[in-house]
Amino acid sequence: MNIKEIAKIAGVSVATVSRVLNHPDSVAPETKERILNVIKESDYTPNWFARGLNFNRTNTIGLLIPNILNPSYMEIAKGVEDVAHQKDYTTFLCNAENAVEKERRYVESLMRRKVDGIVLVSSLLESEDVDAVMKQGVPVVLIGENRNISGIPIVRIDCHGAAAKAVRHLIDIGYRDIAIIYGTTPERENMRKIEGYKQVLTEEGIPLRNDYVMEVANTVEGGYIAARRLIGMVKRPRAIFTSSDLLAFGVIDAMRDYSIRVPEEVAIVGFDNIRMSNLIEPKLTTIEKPMHKMGLVGARLLFDIMDSKEEEDTSSREILLQSKLKIRKSCGHRDRIGEIF
C-alpha cells in the first residue's frame, strides 16, 4: 500500500497524510488519529529514501573514526550513537584506517547516501575536504584535533596540559630519566602531548634526549617494540609516558618478557583510560580522556546545527572537556589510588 491509497481510504489529500508523518503537530487531532489508524491497519511504512528526497532528511549521520581496533574510538563512537539513537537516527560507522584517501572515499560515499551530518574523529582531512562537504549543506563536527581546520564546531581536550600533568606526576615521584613513546596517529594530538612532555622536562632543568622520544604505530605491538629498544639502551629510562594506553600495554608486555618489574624498575603512565587499563597488571596509571562524553557532546553539536533555525549561531562552538590523571599502580604508588584534576 502506498501513500495515495492511504489518503483515499482516510478521505484526505496526500499532503495531509504526509503532514501527519512529518509534521504531526500541524494536523487536527481527530484527522491525525483517523489517518494513523488507517496506516496502522494497512501495514504501511514510509519510504525513507523518498522521505529524504522530499524533506532533505535521511535520518542518518556518518561517523569516521581512525581505527576500529582502538577501544578509545569505540567509546567515542558509543557516545555519538547514544545521542543519534535517541534522536531516531542511524549512524554509519566508517573505519578510516588512518589513511586520508580512505577517509575521502568514505566521505564521498556518505554524501552519495545523503547523510544529514558527519562527525570526524581525529581526522586527517584537510580544510578543503571539509569545506566541500559543508558547501553541499551537510554540517560537520570534529571530535579531537584535526590537521588544521578552524571555524567549525569541535570537542577536544587539552592534550598538551594533560601530558604535562602525567610527566609532572612522574617527576613528583622522583623520576628524572623519562622517555615518551608516541603513536604516528592521532597526529596533531600526539604533537601536543610531546610539547607538554618537553615543556615540563625543560622547566625542571632535565636535559631532553632525542633517543628517549620514540615514534611507533599506535598499537600494542608498537609499544612492545619501542620498549624493547629502550630496554636495550645503556642508560635505560626509569619511567615511560606513552601517548595511548594501547602503547602502554605493549610496554608492560615487553617488560614482563624481559623480567623487568613495573613499577619497581620502570614506571609507566598511559593516556586515554580505556577500560582494560584497570584490568591489566599492574593497573595502569593513565590520563583519563572523557571519550564517551566527547562522543555525546560532538553528536549534540551536530544535531544543534541540523535542528537549528537560521537565526541561531551554532557555527563554531568549541567545547573543551577536562581530562584527569588517574593514579593507579604502574608508577611507584603501589598503595595509593587517586585522581588529579
Binding site: 545521542v83 535517541q86 549534540r300 562552538r317 567545547i319 573543551l320 572537556l321 577536562q322 584534576f341
Partner: protein, 368 residues
C-alpha cells in the same frame, strides 16, 4: 511572604534544593504542588551515569551522600522540563561540568528547555573534586562568565563552605555577571567507620548535609552578605520555618531545603511554607526584604565587642536535678553543690556563659 530573588518573583522564599528528590519532571511537580517558591532540578551533566549503591548514610542527625548527579541525559531533560513546567511554578536548572565551555553548553540547553534560571553546581565535594574549583576565585569567575555570556536567564553559583575565603569567591561571581550565589553545598565527609570491620560508612568520600551543617551555612551566608552586594540563597540544615528565618536574617533572599525533604518527604515543604506564612502574617511582614539581614546589624567583628563585667547568676539556689552539668562544666570552679544547694563563688566567675546553655533547667543567666 513574597521574595524577589535574582529578578525572579517568588511567592515564598522556600526553594527545593537540587537533588535526587527532583530527579525528573514528575518529582519536580511534587515540590511545586507542595507549595515551594521554586524547585531546582537534580544536577544535570554531559554524560549521565548510573547510580552507585548504596549512596546514602544517615546517623540520625546528618546525612552523607555519594550520589553523582542526574541519570537522565540532556536530551531527556527536554521532556522532563516540559512535564515540570506544564502548570505554574518556577524551575531552576542545576548544571555541573568541569570546564567553562562544557558548563555553558549545558546551561544553554536548559535555557532552551524552559528553565527560569540556572544554578551552577561547581562545588560538589564528591568524587569529581569540584570543590577544588569552588575555592579558586579565578576559575569560578571564568566558568560563571562563560555561562552568563551565553544565556539570558539569571545565573546563580552554588558555593562551598570549604573555600579559603568564600566572600572572595562570591565577589568573583558578581564580577563575572552572576545574578546570585547559593551557599553552602554539602561538606566533604566520611560519616563514620565501623571499628569491627574497619569499613567507612560508604566506600568513598561524600557530601555532609542536614542539621549539623546549619551553623556552617549561616556563617557562610553572613560572611558573603557582609562583603558582597549579591542576592544570596541560604542552604544547610533547614528543617523548620525558624531555620529559614535565621538564614534570611543573616542576609539570604531565599533558602533551599534538601535533606529535610529526603528524610521527611515533600510534606515538610508544605509545613515550612505554611508556618512561615503564619509567622509573617502575625508579624505583619509581606516581603522577605523587610527582615533580610536584620541579624547582621548585631553581628560585630571581634574587636568591636564591648565587654561588660557580667558574671553568672542564679534565679534560685535550690537544684533537685542530679546532673551536675554546671559543676562539671565550670573550669573556673565557680559553681559547687552541697546536697540540693548551689553555691556560687561569683568572684571567680569570668562570664564565659557555658552554664547558661548546659543547665537543663535554665537556672543561670549573665548579669552585672
Amino acid at each position: 511572604m513574597k521574595t524577589d530573588f535574582m529578578g525572579l518573583k517568588l511567592k515564598n522564599p522556600i526553594i527545593v534544593a537540587a537533588g535526587p528528590w527532583n530527579r525528573d519532571g514528575r518529582s519536580i511537580r511534587k515540590g511545586i504542588t507542595a507549595g515551594a517558591g521554586a524547585v531546582i532540578t537534580e544536577s544535570i551533566v554531559s554524560d549521565a551515569l548510573f547510580d552507585v549503591r548504596p549512596r546514602v548514610a544517615y546517623n540520625g542527625s546528618g546525612v552523607q551522600n555519594i550520589r553523582l548527579y542526574s541519570d537522565i541525559q540532556v536530551e531527556g531533560w527536554q521532556r522532563e522540563m516540559d512535564i515540570a513546567k506544564s502548570k505554574e511554578g518556577v524551575v531552576i536548572a542545576s548544571v555541573s561540568a568541569h570546564t567553562p565551555s562544557e558548563l555553558a553548553y549545558l546551561a544553554m540547553k536548559m535555557e532552551k528547555f524552559g528553565a527560569d534560571a540556572i544554578e551552577l553546581c561547581i562545588s560538589s565535594p564528591m568524587g569529581e573534586s569540584l570543590e577544588v574549583v569552588a575555592s579558586d576565585a579565578d576559575r569560578v569567575y571564568a566558568m560563571t562568565k562563560e555561562v552568563v555570556e551565553n544565556i539570558k536567564i539569571p545565573v546563580m553559583v552554588k558555593l562551598s563552605q570549604n573555600a579559603t575565603n568564600i566572600s572572595r569567591v562570591a565577589k568573583a561571581v558578581k564580577n563575572a555577571g552572576g545574578a546570585g550565589v547559593s551557599a553552602i553545598n554539602t561538606v566533604r565527609c566520611i560519616l563514620g567507620v565501623d571499628i569491627e570491620t574497619a569499613e567507612p560508612s560508604l566506600p568513598t568520600y561524600g557530601g555532609y548535609s542536614g542539621l549539623p551543617i546549619k551553623p556552617l551555612g549561616l556563617a557562610s551566608v553572613a560572611s558573603i552578605a557582609q562583603a558582597v552586594d549579591i542576592p544570596i540563597c541560604g542552604i544547610g540544615g533547614i528543617s523548620n520555618y525558624k531555620n529559614a528565618l535565621e538564614y534570611i536574617m543573616l542576609g539570604a533572599s531565599a533558602v533551599q531545603m534538601g535533606t529535610a525533604v529526603m528524610i521527611n518527604g515533600f510534606d515538610k515543604i508544605t509545613e515550612v511554607v505554611e508556618d512561615l506564612e503564619e509567622w509573617a502574617q502575625r508579624k505583619g511582614i509581606k516581603e522577605v526584604k523587610a527582615i533580610r539581614g536584620k541579624a547582621l546589624e548585631h553581628l560585630k567583628s571581634f574587636e568591636e565587642i564591648k565587654i561588660e563585667p557580667i558574671v553568672s547568676r542564679i534565679s534560685s539556689d535550690i537544684c533537685t536535678l542530679n546532673c551536675d552539668a554546671c559543676v562539671k562544666g565550670c573550669i573556673y570552679e565557680v559553681i559547687k553543690k552541697e546536697g540540693t544547694k548551689l553555691i556560687m563563688d561569683v568572684d571567680k566567675c569570668t562570664g564565659c556563659g557555658l552554664c547558661t546553655f548546659s543547665c537543663p533547667d535554665k537556672k543561670f543567666h549573665l548579669d552585672w
